[in-house]
């Protein structure tokens, strides 16, 4: 029977309290009536229906997720589902009592995860099976990427840790501090051993009854290191034990196991392990040991942080490490899925004994031990920085380290895949025969799958690079492209959100350098995968703690090759852009993104390879930039945001009030008897020939559905000419189509109001004097009279004119003069009415045989334009004759000669 009780060991309690258990930060200590020995106590297997609950839950969640993806794939609901997910996650997480980070993380993670599922659902149905050889791998890579993204947020989801049981007093346990070494040298080892000694001394000061033994595990002799004897001397000088192996085998694991055997670190002992370069802080043991009060606690892992970050490669690698130690490990801790990382860790010897010691057949013995031990032992991760070490000093060392880790993890993943991936394998109670083969819990299996498969990201990145390159160079598309709109509505939210959320989540813990250097590993990871597939052996190689060479070029050859490939593809893509703009544009963006990351690798290699003074200068710039990002850039960013806000708000205000703020429109052009001018209505193709003629009125006909060409009008105004626009309500080329909204009645009844208002606003915005004509020759009574064809009556025409003018007046477009184009032999009622409303009238004088035009003074003071026209080719003799006629007319203001076939009645 468990119960909370007061702990009698205040220092212990204090230590546990300050040990910073992930997330909730406090540790509840509970007592039990007897130490839990569930490890060795066989239990009767009994079916409990409640055990089905998590299975049912998972099945329901899986089925629901699948259904959602189907919905997303089969409809255009992608964006909506993402939005709804955001809202529901707000309902679930945003609480006054919620821890702020929990709420924010929950909302962001859920939203981005749903957008990922929506994207995958859509992608499943857009795999271009015609090019399956590239389409299927790309889809698989995207599925892999999305699963790891989901896994990332699943891991980081804030959870409460299980309380630490107080089964025993851990300070009574013997502690062995192992420092394995091969050839790191006196300087490095001295710091490490002194750190271990400081930790020992602080611990013993707190717990005088404690027993701490520091053991230097010397593998120098078997490794053929020249200074292995110096290592022994160093141990003697510092007063620590030194165990030197004489028989090689098992690499680091073998070294440790040998030392363990020699000093007798078995049974209830605790074993702290530090790599030769990892210097412990004085409170290391004080903070880690108290957790072993719980008998089930197998190991307590702490982070691995580099102190030599003045080195470029180490700095970038430190950021990559931070992703793991600052983000993932704290997330894995409540899931009891923290792996042994080989250093800066305290392990219970009992646990190692149970599996026969650290596995010696693996180059990542720590991971191999973890996956076996986690079946029954508990692990925990402490976020405190309790040790600092040396990071890889150059790309060669870094890539070698990554190669070892990736090969080891991929091998372990392959060896345990069956047990890890089996959805029906679950934890089973221990039996007399020992641990079950498939005893990991669901969460643990997920974490191991994620951890070991992470190194497949090399394949993913390779496919990501090659897909757009292949498309741009050879036109082979992996995606069954439907439309830019659909692609962007699904892909863009996912892409943007996944990046934005990712950087929000890692903010303050690590940076983009960690992501970039992880990307740089893709050739290494590909190589490791090849090694695992072919079954080649990779020997254990200690990560060098000093620079071993300056030539980085040989290590970035693959990156240079792919960068060149991307650049070529980009250039080709730009050239091909007009052929198929949308998908090529997407590919270009994609390539640009990859190019950025590839370039970053080149930058790392160049920066690392520079002479020391120059490198220091660059480091200084980088530091300054970082500081600037924190301070002045923030202010600049805020200023920019403020300016942007002002601009946006100002834009709205300007748009809303713009009309009132605009200068008043110019008065209409002066029309009254300023002396006859001459205008020409020429076929369009002959306009160039008339370029030298001084043009005072230039006209054009526009469909009302089109926009007013303000630029054209402005250009005319600059030359001193007056624009004249005839607004056509139907396309004259449209034939006899029933444009019901082009009839005078329709116009009078307001069917074209929207277009008219738009034109009126544009005319007013233009502001300069201009002529406007609507419904030309609408008065013509003939069998083909358009107005009659629409069933219009004279009253309808008059109402339409009145209606149009009223709209222009209401919109303030008073800068236009209205020209009524009267047809020959028109309806007198219409003419009589419209000439009272127009500012000028145009009279057409077709050139007909024996036809003499006589003006009768019918129009009084109304300015008159005369348009002389003749069908067919222009007759040079006609123009003088017409001018002669016109000269006799006092009323004439403008004389227009139509030299083309522009003659006839109709609404246009």
């Amino acid at each position: 029977m468990e119960k909370l009780h007061r702990v009698d060991n205040p220092p212990l309690m204090e230590a546990v309290r300050h040990a910073d258990v992930p997330y909730n930060g406090t540790v509840r200590v509970r007592s039990v009536d007897a130490p839990r020995q569930e490890v060795s106590q066989p239990e009767a297997v009994r079916f409990d229906v409640r055990a089905l609950q998590p299975v049912v839950e998972r099945l329901l969640i899986a089925a629901g997720t699948g259904a959602l993806m189907m919905v997303a794939a089969g409809s255009n609901m992608g964006m909506w589902l993402t939005l709804a997910a955001f809202v529901i996650s707000v309902v679930i997480f945003a609480r006054a009592e919620s821890e702020r980070w929990h709420a924010l993380f929950g909302i962001l993670a859920v939203t981005v995860s749903v957008s990922a599922l929506v994207y995958l659902g859509w992608r499943a149905f857009s795999v271009n099976l015609v090019s399956a050889w590239i389409a299927v791998p790309l889809f698989a890579a995207e599925v892999f990427g999305a699963l790891h993204l989901l896994g990332f947020y699943y891991t980081l989801y804030p959870r409460k840790s299980e309380p630490i049981a107080q089964d025993i007093d851990p300070t009574t346990l013997p502690i062995y501090v192992f420092v394995p070494t091969v050839n790191e040298g006196r300087e490095v080892l001295t710091a490490t051993l002194k750190g271990a000694m400081a930790a020992r001394d602080a611990y013993l000061a707190q717990y005088p009854h404690g027993r701490v033994t520091i053991v230097l595990c010397n593998d120098g002799r078997v490794a053929g290191a020249p200074d292995w004897e110096d290592t022994e001397r160093l141990a003697a000088e510092l007063g620590v034990e030194c165990v030197t192996r004489t028989v090689k085998g098992g690499a680091k694991a073998g070294n440790l196991e040998h030392a363990r055997h020699v000093v007798g670190a078995h049974g209830d002992a605790l074993i702290a392990v530090f790599d030769a370069d990892q210097v412990a802080t004085a409170d290391f043991l004080l903070k880690t040991v108290p957790y072993f009060s719980e008998m089930r606690m197998g190991w307590v892992q702490t982070g691995q942080y580099y102190w030599n970050t003045e080195n470029t490669v180490a700095r970038w690698a430190n950021d990559q490490q931070a992703m793991f130690y600052r983000l993932l490990c704290p997330g894995k801790s409540p899931l009891n899925a923290v792996i042994i990382c080989g250093t800066n860790v305290v392990i219970r010897a009992n646990a190692l004994d149970e599996i026969g010691g650290l596995p010696q057949d693996s180059i990542t013995e720590d991971m191999a031990a973890s996956v076996t031990l986690h079946r029954r032992w508990r692990s925990i991760f402490l976020q405190d920085e309790l040790a600092h070490g040396l990071g890889p000093m150059d790309l060669k060392s870094y890539f070698a380290q990554q190669r070892r880790w990736s090969t080891g993890n991929l091998k372990i993943g392959a060896q345990h895949f069956k047990a890890l991936a089996n959805p029906f394998a679950g934890p089973r109670p221990a039996n007399a025969d020992g641990a079950p083969a498939d005893g990991l819990r669901f969460d643990q299996r997920v974490q191991y799958l994620l951890g070991t498969s992470h190194y497949l990201c090399g394949v993913r990145d390779f496919i990501y690079i090659m897909t757009p390159v292949i498309y741009l160079l050879f036109g082979t598309s992996a995606i069954d492209y439907t439309s830019m709109g659909q692609f962007l509505s699904v892909a863009l939210p996912f892409w943007v959100m996944s990046h934005v959320v990712f950087y929000i989540v890692i903010r303050g813990q690590t940076g983009i350098r960690g992501v970039m250097i992880n990307f740089a590993n893709f050739p290494v990871y590909l190589n490791s995968l090849f090694t695992v597939i072919t079954g080649r052996r990779l020997g254990f190689q200690v990560t060098s703690k000093q620079r071993v060479g300056r030539g980085n070029l040989q290590f970035i050859r693959p990156h240079l090759f792919f960068l060149a490939l991307c650049l070529v593809a980009f250039v080709v893509g730009v050239q091909k852009l007009p052929q198929n703009p949308e998908p090529i544009f997407v590919s270009l963006v994609w390539i640009a993104y990859q190019t950025f990351f590839l370039s970053s690798v080149i930058w790392l290699a160049v920066a690392d390879g520079l002479p020391k003074p120059l490198r220091r200068r660059i480091d200084g710039i980088e530091t300054a930039l970082k500081a600037a990002r924190m301070q002045p850039f923030t202010r600049i960013g805020r200023s920019l945001a403020a300016v942007s806000s002002v601009l946006v708000i100002g834009g709205f205000v300007f748009t809303l009030t713009g009309r009132a703020a605009m200068p008043p429109a110019s008065p209409p052009p002066a029309l009254a008897h300023s002396g006859a001018g001459i205008g020409l209505i020429l076929p369009y193709e002959t306009l160039d020939a008339a370029r030298d003629v001084e043009q005072s009125v230039i006209g054009r006909t526009d469909l009302i559905a089109a926009d007013f060409d303000t630029a054209w009008a402005e250009a005319l105004r600059e030359t001193g000419a007056i624009p004249w626009v005839t607004l056509a309500f139907r396309d004259p080329g449209a034939g006899d189509a029933e444009d019901f909204d082009a009839s005078p009645l329709a116009i009078a009844n307001g069917l074209r109001d929207a277009d008219l208002r738009r034109w009126a606003a544009a005319v007013r915005a233009y502001g300069g004097p201009m002529y406007l004509t609507v419904l030309p020759r609408i008065d013509v009574v003939a069998a083909s009279f358009d107005a009659a064809r629409f069933g219009a009556q004279p009253d309808d025409v008059i109402r339409a004119w009145t209606h149009i003018q009223a709209i222009f007046t209401a919109e303030g477009a008073t800068n236009a003069a209205w020209i009524w184009v009267k047809g020959a032999l028109g309806e007198p009622q219409i003419d009589a009415a419209l000439r009272t409303m127009a500012d000028a009238v145009i009279i057409e004088m077709p050139s007909l045989p024996r036809n003499l035009w006589v003006f009768s003074g019918l129009y009084g003071d109304l300015p008159v334009f005369v348009q002389v026209a003749r069908a067919g080719q222009a007759d040079p003799a006609f123009l003088p004759l017409a001018l002669d006629h016109a000269a006799q007319v006092d009323e004439l203001d403008v004389f227009l000669f139509d030299a083309g076939s522009h003659f006839g009645a109709g609404i246009y």
Binding site: M77, W80, A84, V87, I92, S98, E738, G750, L751
Partner: protein
């Protein structure tokens, strides 16, 4: 002294003793934070509703045309024959709709529906906040509001300019005040309950069916808290409010009884559909939420905060009796809320009436949503919703409901395109002179309201015609005779109802020689029939 000084009394030497203490600020901050999820739900609801775009629908036109007339007359108390066939009081929603229309057109009236449905969501939240215990209360309320906001009929009504949305809101208010009255015993809450419910019924007579749940809410809760006397007093009070209001309205317009009977109490089904088909539609629209409501009742009854007396020897019946006895306080109320969801659908199924079912589903969900939200909350892990992994079930359930609802609402809102036909008709009519025959009198009457007098339109409902020989005809003969003589200037028939009056009207249009078909609009209206427009081309 700046605002910061006001907010922080300790900041300046002149800080007055204003009530902006840190505690008060913290309390208000907590309250505002508590509203964030609700605001997010309302934002999603608004966004979903904003996807619904279409021209005016027939029912919208009916009420708005009447509203425009009333608003233009300047008085809401003028009796109108609309009261004989309207399913709500013509002087209430249509009048306000007409006023709004004069301000901002159809979209302004639809905005009223949008606001009404958003506020209805808030009433669901408020209603749910009165039940259950601890944090479950708030979680249930959020999820109830989310479930309600995601219903297809709720999204649909938010963009439907009829009195349904306002009626849902008023019913929601009545329910909230009924619970308040029952839980506090306040007379003012009881008065407000009566007032809101009466207004809901005045808005739409169909709200009468929800008198039962409202009565149970206020009655049972008052009985439990204040005893029989106060419960009876509350009942009498509300009855008096309803009687006074009804009496005044009936005195002003006796035609209301005919309308009430014609449209609601003795309604003949307009669109008869097999019962199983109606049930199927109800399930498709909101079956999940209705089911969740009953599940919520079950959870409340059997897995709520009930403590079972120890001892395995008690029989199931005995334990059941103990359950009910211990939870008789709220169980009937919870059951009533859950069951209210099926009231209206059951009536539709009984009458085999298909018309307006998609709207009426929302009325019942208003009551059932709090219990459904409770069920979802319990499924999602109980009172610590964000803990564990079961909140994923809540998330997935809500997303699936929403993924089904939005397309359904969009489908409900996808009647045939009408603006083009109205424009075509507009191009053919002249003020005061054009005579129009149409079986879409309300839509065209609304569309041409600014141009013609409604009296220029002849509908399929009633027509009396005196021919050139002086003979008067009524009904079908009147239509055919008028067509034969070229009486109408424009004929626009969608063949929805009209052909039942004059089956051979089409033949007469063709043989009269007076009419030329000028336009045909396929996929018109709900039934996607073709609308044809003829114009007069002869000489009179």
């Amino acid at each position: 002294m700046g605002l910061s000084d006001l907010l922080n009394p300790r900041a300046g030497a002149f800080a007055p003793a204003l009530p902006f203490t840190p505690e008060i600020r913290a309390r208000w901050l907590a309250r505002l934070t508590a509203l964030v999820p609700l605001i997010a739900i309302l934002a999603l609801q608004t966004a979903a509703m904003s996807t619904l775009r279409n021209d005016i629908e027939r029912d919208e036109a009916i009420y708005l045309l009447e509203g425009l007339k009333l608003a233009d007359l300047g008085s809401a108390a003028v009796p109108t024959d609309a009261s004989t066939y309207f399913s709500g009081l013509p002087y209430f929603y249509p009048f306000f709709g007409g006023l709004l229309h004069n301000i901002g057109g159809l979209e302004a009236v639809r905005a009223l529906s949008t606001v009404s449905m958003l506020l209805a969501t808030v009433t669901v939240y408020a209603l749910a906040r009165h039940f259950f215990d601890g944090t479950a209360r708030r979680d249930s309320a959020y999820l109830a509001a989310a479930l309600f906001a995601m219903q297809p009929s709720v999204i649909f009504l938010g963009r439907y300019a009829t009195f349904d949305a306002l009626c849902v809101l008023l019913l929601g208010c009545a329910a909230v005040f009924a619970v308040r009255a029952g839980m506090t015993g306040r007379v003012s809450s009881a008065v407000l309950t009566g007032l809101f419910f009466t207004l809901a019924v005045a808005t739409k007579y169909a709200a009468l069916i929800y008198a039962a749940p409202i009565a149970v809410l206020i009655g049972w809760l008052t009985l439990r808290r204040s005893g029989f006397g106060r419960a009876a007093a509350f009942g009498a009070l509300m009855l008096a409010i309803a009687c006074i209001f009804s009496g005044i309205m009936l005195l002003l317009d006796p035609g209301l009884t005919q309308g009430l009977s014609f449209t609601t109490t003795a309604r003949e089904a307009m669109t008869i559909v097999p019962r199983e088909q109606i049930a199927g539609l109800v399930i498709a629209l909101s079956g999940g939420t209705i089911l969740l409501g009953f599940v919520g009742f079950g959870i409340y009854l059997f897995a709520g905060d009930i403590r079972v007396p120890p001892g395995d020897d008690s029989t199931l019946v005995q334990r059941g009796i103990v359950f009910i006895a211990r939870h008789s306080a709220l169980a009937p109320v919870i059951l009533t809320l859950a069951a209210a969801a099926v009231l209206s659908p059951a009536y539709h199924i009984y009458k085999m009436e298909f018309t307006s079912l998609h709207k009426h589903v929302a009325f019942g969900i208003l009551f059932a949503a709090p219990v459904a939200g409770y069920a979802l909350m319990r499924i999602g892990g109980g009172q610590a919703l964000a803990a564990g992994r079961r909140w994923l079930l809540v998330l997935i359930a809500c997303l699936l409901i929403f993924a089904g609802s939005l397309p359904q609402a969009q489908g409900l809102y996808s009647w045939g395109f009408r603006a083009e036909a109205a424009d075509a008709l507009r191009s053919l009519v002249r003020p005061a002179s054009t005579r129009i025959l149409t079986d879409e009198a309300f839509i065209f009457g609304y569309a041409l309201y600014d141009l013609i007098d409604p009296s220029q339109i002849t509908s399929q409902y009633y027509f009396e015609y005196t021919d050139r020989w002086g003979d008067t005809h009524l009904g079908a003969p009147a239509y055919t005779r008028a067509v034969d003589e070229g009486y109408f200037d424009v004929i626009a028939l969608g063949f929805d109802f009209g052909v039942t009056y004059a089956p051979d009207l089409l033949e007469h249009i063709h043989t009269s020689g007076y009419y030329q078909q000028v336009y045909a609009f396929p996929a018109w209206g709900w039934e996607r029939e073709t609308l044809i427009i003829w114009r007069f081309v002869g000489d009179r």
